[in-house]
């Protein structure tokens, strides 16, 4: 890929006196993590493909405060939230889409009480809506017939009751969707939530991501589909830990759609 992506910022829109229809909240992982940046780019390509009028905050974006809140640092969380809400409200943001279920949950559920009220969508929900509006064409492609299992992110699934949007998208790709024995509301965590991503696990007999990867391997998938940059990292590490990286890919739903059509 030689061409650089066109990623407009809110500041640029503001300078032109315009407002985009949706803000793409990239999140820390999507901005800095090498693996997650690929998901960010895939999603941006899909936004362009569907002709969505969007912008990012760029250097004005900051951590939502989710890991701080779940680690118990309510103070830091509210500092982050208050500062972010000031920026979002200054730009008169109404609609937010993000590829991170943690950002999604925090902005959607925990910002309103602090003065931040927006319509917030997870990128799988947003892509599904684009599909239904006919703006995005998703059909078959190179993953057609491939055996794919979807790992539910806790903060999308149990946290917010969304189990079907990512699966609907996978069905549109005409993949062979197989479910792990622990899925949807019974899905097992990847092990990254609640601040665990940033610390060593407590003593035990196994890492959570290994347990989850083993559950995924039971259904013999060619691809483990994820909808969260942290789950993606944990499952990728799990697959590597099992020396299966040559046989099993871990990909975000947005990447699957973008790759299916060689975007």
């Amino acid at each position: 890929m030689a061409e650089t992506l066109k990623v407009p910022t809110m500041a640029e829109y503001m300078a032109e006196g315009k407002k985009p229809e949706v803000l793409f909240w990239v999140g820390c992982a999507g901005s800095f993590d090498d693996r997650a940046k690929k998901i960010t780019k895939a999603f941006v390509k899909l936004l362009h493909e569907a002709g969505v009028d969007f912008a990012v905050l760029g250097t004005e974006e900051s951590c939502t405060g989710d890991p701080a809140k779940r680690a118990g640092n309510e103070f830091l969380f509210q500092m982050q939230a208050t500062a972010n809400i000031e920026v979002l409200n200054a730009y008169e943001i109404e609609k937010v889409v993000t590829a991170c279920p943690h950002c999604f949950n925090t902005i959607k559920n925990e910002y309103p009480a602090l003065g931040g009220n927006y319509e917030v969508m997870h990128h799988t929900q947003f892509l599904k809506a684009l599909l239904e509006e006919g703006k995005l064409k998703v059909q078959g492609g190179k993953f057609k017939g491939k055996r794919i299992t979807f790992h539910d992110p806790c903060y999308l699934g149990r946290g917010n009751g969304e189990y079907e949007a990512p699966r609907d998208l996978l069905r549109k790709l005409e993949v062979e969707l197989v479910e792990m024995r622990k899925c949807k509301s019974n899905g097992l965590c990847c092990g990254a939530g609640g601040g665990q991503m940033f610390k060593e696990p407590e003593p035990g007999n196994k890492d959570v991501n290994i347990e989850r990867t083993e559950q995924a391997m039971e259904v013999k998938p060619e691809v483990i589909a994820a909808g969260c940059p942290f789950c993606n990292t944990m499952m990728t590490d799990g697959v590597k830990g099992k020396n299966q990286e040559a046989n099993v890919a871990v990909m975000d739903v947005a990447e699957l759609i973008a790759n299916a059509h060689d975007l």
């Binding site: 650089t4 990623v7 901005s31 951590c63 640092n73 509301s185 939530g193 991503m197």
Partner: protein
Amino acid sequence: MQIIFQVLFLIALIAGISFFARNIRRLLRNIKLGKAIDRTDNKGERFKKMARIAFGQSKMVKKPVSGFLHVIVYLGFIIINIEVLEIIIDGLFGTHRILSFMGGFYNVLIASFEILALLVLIGVIIFWVRRNILNIYRFLSRELKGWPKNDANYILYFEMVLMLLFLVMNATDYQLQLNGASYYASEAGITGSFPISQFLLPIFDGMSNSSLILIERAAWWLHILGILFFLNYLYYSKHLHILLAFPNVYFSKLKPQGELNNLQSVTDEVKLMMDPNADPFAAPAEEDQAEPDKFGASDVFDLNQVQLLNSYTCTECGRCTAECPANQTGKKLSPRKIMMDTRDRLEEVGEIINTKGKYEDNGKQLLDDFILREELWACTSCNACVEACPVGIDPLSIIIDMRRYLVMEESAAPNELAIAMTNIENNGAPWPYNQQDRLNWAKEN
């Protein structure tokens, strides 16, 4: 003679109910040691949730075997309680099967009680086998060693004995009716229908009426005294869920599970910090002289009343622990233990109040003396425990409140987490990358 039994019955009934009332008062007093929380909104939705999850057992049946058996025992207990009503009236007024005026319907009732009693008996025996013989993960945890395991078994034995007494009582009553014994037999024919206990008749074959009366009366008395005893055992056991499951589900969180509450005490501080007009040196106003709110929870007093109700409602089934990713991978965290510890500490505090009239510090608290830091830090906040609980308990909220105490009152986060938080504070991301580089990805290939 009869009147003596009626008086004895009345005394037993009053004693049983008043002791029960005393314990319920203590329970409510202990729950009120927690912080007030408003869960009186959305009454309609709350009733629906209670009807679905508590009354309708919708989460129980997610595990089909134990769920199905539990529904039988649950239905048995609810329906057989109609019979207890008759027993109480008979006991007080010296009547025999007072409800038999309902005729054919009465026979249907007694027959269904009998069938349910047998099913409950079978169900409870299977429960015992599951707990004691089959190696079921959630019944093997360390927090079940000792009293909790015995407690669970006592409850099962109790239910077995109560059901057997009920059937023996009916069988001997039936035989006495067949024998035409006075007081038992009625001119209208046999009152009640005995599809199960009729098979016990051979045991009593050839017994005199007086022996039969002795057995019937003994079974009748032991059955009702057993029920009164069981009612009072509840408060000392893990079995309060048969009463508290309903209010517990009613008062459970209606918001998305992913949402954690925002601490108002923190919001106030943050607002003050962000307010350019705030005077940092201003003396606090008169009315603000009270001790500032503690951040998070280190003891039961810092938890809210719903969290404390949760702890009394927990029946230690362990579905939460079986679903917990930390527990499955050998970490010390067990959401069930979080609930059991909370209740144990609350009971300890309650006991101090019972003896001394008010709480006096006994040098213990919920944190460290009951719940370990290692347990709290193993949580991934995935909500699997909350989802799994058949009665709407939220162990995660307690874990988060205790983490809040550790971080905001003690600065005691694990080192790597403290670094991630410092990064968020300094550069707006949990990793040490500059905020100014946040859009670099757009220019990279």
